[in-house]
Point group: C2
Chain length 142, copies 2
């Protein structure tokens, strides 16, 4: 079998009960573990689809910035986002420091995408200024 990191086509069917602990713990403990993990798997699917939607939105921002030759980063916007997410995290009983690290993780990926869009745009686009340019490839949509 090929390495599962090569492409989605190489990914084996998901085994919701996969565990290095299998056979090493009492059945009732494993049952409780699998029950909680099933909830985690549901949440993870929701997170992936939300992240996909978020990247669709930031892709639109990237196109807008490329069309108007704006810089990829926006420090004032990022500072406002971080302050808001820390406050939201606190209200959800999530560590605000983790929420900030999470946003920085996402933003660094977005800026990387925006730079790629901008480079594509500068390399071959003639429609700068119309607000709806197309690009030949987009790292967020591979």
């Amino acid at each position: 079998m090929t390495d599962s990191t090569d492409s989605p086509a190489d990914v084996p069917a998901f085994d919701a009960e996969a565990s290095s602990l299998a056979g090493r713990i009492a059945p009732e403990v494993m049952a409780e573990l699998l029950s909680v993990r099933s909830s985690i798997d549901n949440i993870d699917a929701a997170l992936v689809y939300l992240l996909a939607e978020r990247f669709k939105a930031t892709q639109r921002v990237g196109f807008l910035k490329a069309a108007h030759r704006l810089p990829p980063a926006d420090p004032d916007r990022e500072a406002a986002q971080i302050g808001r997410l820390r406050a939201l995290a606190a209200s959800a009983h999530l560590d605000p420091g983790f929420a900030e690290k999470f946003l920085n993780f996402i933003i660094s990926e977005v800026i990387h995408h925006h730079q790629a869009i901008s480079e594509n745009h500068a390399a071959g686009q003639d429609d700068a200024g119309d607000g709806s340019p197309t690009v030949r490839s987009n790292p967020a949509q591979q």
Copy 2:
């Protein structure tokens, strides 16, 4: 004003229009940018609350592992999760490589939390084995 990274109480009210680009781009471009950013802000709030729920679930796993003296990491489980998330990402037109990086980012935080729960448990708990220990502090719920 104190540094906004100190605590949620120090975070100023959110300015949804904060931008280093303010006054430097055409009003109609800024209006389009703010419209997309409003969607991003909604998605980010959903992400934060989902992440909070995910950490509640992994906290339960952490308690279970501490009570039964199980190792914080579970390599077979993590491999299955990564394969599934890559496939989900592909179906959502999200870069599978990013989805994998995202899960690794979350898992490393979870393992850190599990280690803290385990250390708290070992340091002062007498109820190992009952499946519902309490801990004095939890980094995920600060």
